[in-house]
C-alpha cells in the first residue's frame, strides 16, 4: 500500500473566532485527483489554505506520510504547490520572472537563481507551450494564458501535490477544458496528485477520480462523481433544483427552473 499524498484527520479551522472547518477528515492517494465541491461558504478554500500552510488549524495533516507541522515552510513548498483562486498579478513582471518565483524553495535565502533554476523554468514553459510568452509582461496576457502561467509557477516548484483553488472560475468554457486537460496530462506524465475545488459541477465530475462534498465545514459525501453528484444531494446541500444526466465521462448537472404556479 502506498502512502497517502494527503491524510487529514479531524481538521478544524476558525477564522476570526468563527468555526469554518468543523472536523474534516480526508485522504487523497498519491496520483489521485480529488475535487472538493460545496456551496459558497462551505470551507473549500479554507481547506486548501490550511493544507498550504497559511492558516492555523487543529487536527492532523500529513503530507506524504510526514506530519505537516514537522515540515519547515521551505520543505513544504517543495512538496505542495498552490494555485490561489485569484492570484496576485505583479504588474510589469515578465512571465519568465514570475515562473522563476516558483523556484524560491530551492534558492538559498538572499541568494539568486542558478542556471539550473532557469533551466527548470524554461522546461516548464516549454511543456505548457508558453515559451513564446517568456518575455511578455503578465499584464499583457489573457485570462486563459494567465491561468497557464499560474500553473507554470506551481509546476516550477517541483512539488508533486498540486492544490488548485477554483482553477477555472475566470475562464470561458473552452479554456476551462483546455486547462483541466493540461492538468490531467501533467498529472499522468509527472505523477502529480491533484486536490482541487470547483464550482462547475459537470466539468468537475468529468475530471475528478473522486469528489468530496463539503457543507457547513463538514464532509457530507465522498466518493465517485456518480455517487456524490445526485439530484437529492445537490438539492439538500446547494438548495438547487437540478437534473443529473448521465454523460460519457461522468454525470452532467443541469440546472432547472421551476415555474411557480
Amino acid at each position: 500500500m502506498t502512502t497517502a499524498a494527503v491524510s487529514i484527520v479531524d481538521l478544524r479551522v476558525a477564522l476570526g473566532g468563527t468555526p469554518i472547518l468543523r472536523g474534516v477528515s480526508l485522504d487523497v492517494a498519491t496520483g489521485e485527483w480529488v475535487t472538493v465541491i460545496g456551496p459558497n461558504g462551505a470551507g473549500k478554500s479554507t481547506l486548501l489554505r490550511a493544507l498550504g500552510g497559511v492558516l492555523p488549524y487543529t487536527g492532523s495533516v500529513s503530507l506524504f506520510g510526514t506530519p505537516a507541522t514537522r515540515m519547515r515552510r521551505r520543505q513544504r513548498a517543495r512538496v505542495v504547490a498552490t494555485v490561489a483562486q485569484s492570484p496576485v498579478v505583479p504588474g510589469g513582471m515578465s512571465v519568465l520572472d514570475y515562473v522563476l518565483l516558483g523556484r524560491t524553495p530551492y534558492i538559498p535565502p538572499l541568494g539568486r537563481e542558478s542556471p539550473a533554476d532557469v533551466a527548470a523554468a524554461d522546461e516548464v514553459l516549454t511543456r505548457l507551450d508558453l515559451i513564446g510568452f517568456a518575455g511578455r509582461g503578465l499584464h499583457t496576457l489573457s485570462g486563459g494564458e494567465l491561468q497557464r502561467v499560474f500553473l507554470a509557477r506551481a509546476l516550477a516548484q517541483g512539488a508533486t501535490l498540486l492544490l488548485l483553488d477554483e482553477p477555472t472560475s475566470s475562464l470561458d468554457i473552452g479554456h476551462q477544458q483546455e486547462v483541466l486537460e493540461l492538468v490531467d496530462a501533467l498529472r499522468h506524465s509527472h505523477g502529480l496528485t491533484v486536490l482541487a475545488t470547483m464550482h462547475d459541477l459537470s466539468i468537475a465530475g468529468e475530471y475528478a477520480d473522486r469528489m468530496v462534498l463539503l457543507a457547513a465545514g463538514q464532509v457530507v459525501a465522498s466518493g465517485t462523481p456518480r455517487a456524490v453528484l445526485t439530484e437529492e444531494m445537490l438539492a439538500r446541500h446547494y438548495r438547487a433544483r437540478v437534473r443529473v444526466v448521465d454523460g460519457e465521462q461522468g454525470p452532467l448537472v443541469v440546472p432547472i427552473r421551476l415555474r411557480s404556479a
Binding site: G91, L101, E113
Partner: protein, 351 residues
Amino acid sequence: MTTAPSRLRPRWLLAGVASVVVAAVAGLALGPVRLPPGSVAAELLNLLPGVRIDSGLTPPEVAIVTQLRLPRVALGLLVGAVLALAGGTYQGVFRNPLADPYLLGAAAGAGLGATVAIALRGGSSGDETASLPATVPVAAFAGALLAVALTYGLGSAGGRERSPAALILAGVAVTSFLTAAQTYILQSNVQTIQEVYSWILGRLATDGWHDVLVLLPYAVGMAIVVLLHGRRLDVMTVGDEEAAGLGVHPQRSRYLLIVVASLGTAAAVAVSGLIAFVGIIVPHTVRLLAGVSYRSILPLSMLFGGAFLTLCDLVARTVVAPAEIPIGVVTAFFGAPFFIVVLRTAKRMPV
C-alpha cells in the same frame, strides 16, 4: 533561449554610476568659484591612494574642492541614496506605490524632536546666520526612531497576522498626533518658527566631515541588508499568502527591512532635515525606466537618488548665491515635471 531573467542590467548599472560621477564632478566644480571639470576629476582621482596627477589647480582651489565642497557633495550623495533606497524598500515591503521613507512617522517624529530642541534652547539669538543647536540632529534622530517604534507597536498590536495596511494606518495616526504636538509647541514659541521651518525644508550645509561620518554607518548597513533582500522583495510582490506558499516568511522580512530602512531614514533626517520627494519619485522613475524587479530598483535607486540630490543641492546653492534655496523646494520643483515626463513616455505601463 532568447529571454533571460530580469536582473540588474549592466547598462543601467553603468548609467547609474556615470550619473553619480557626473553629479559629483559638477557639484565640486560649480559654485562661487568655477573650476574646470577635468581638473576637478583629476583631484578626485588624487584622493585615491597611490594616484598622483597634476590637475593644474592652485592649492587654494584644491582646498575648495577637497575641504569645502567634497564633504557637502558626499553628504548629498549619501542622503539621496539613503532616502531613495528607503523609499524603494518601503514601496516593496508594503506593496504600495505611495509609500515613502516618512510613511511610518519618521518625518513627524524628527520634526517634533527638532522643534523641541530648538524651542528648549530658549529665545532666538536673533542672529540669522547662527547655526542650529547641536542637539537638533540628535533630537531629530531620537524623534524619528521613537515615532517609527510607536507606529510599529500600534500597528502590530493585533498580532502577526495583521495586514500591512494596519501599519500604514498606525503611521497616519502617529504622524497626525506628533504633528499636532509640534504645531502646539511652535505656537507657544513663535520666535522659533523660522528656524524650525528652515530645518523642515532640509539643507545639506555641512561643517566638515562630521555629518557624513554620522550617516555613513547607517547608510552602509542599510544598503547591505536591503540589497541582499532584492529577490525576497520580488517574491513578496505576489502577496504574503502566496509568498508563504513559496516557502518564505514575508512578515519576518518585512519587519527586518522596515527596521533598517527606518534607521537609515532617521539618520538621514538627522543630518539633512526633511527632504521631500526623493524617496518616492526616484524609485518610481527607476521602476518605469529599468523594470519592476527590486533587484534592479534598489541598487539603481541608490545611485540615481544620490546623483539627483547632489544636482538639486548644486541648484539650491548656486541659483540665488550667496543665499540658498531650501533643497526640498528644488527636489520637488525639478523632480515633479521630470517624473511626469517619464510617466508619460515610459512604455512599461503598470506602476
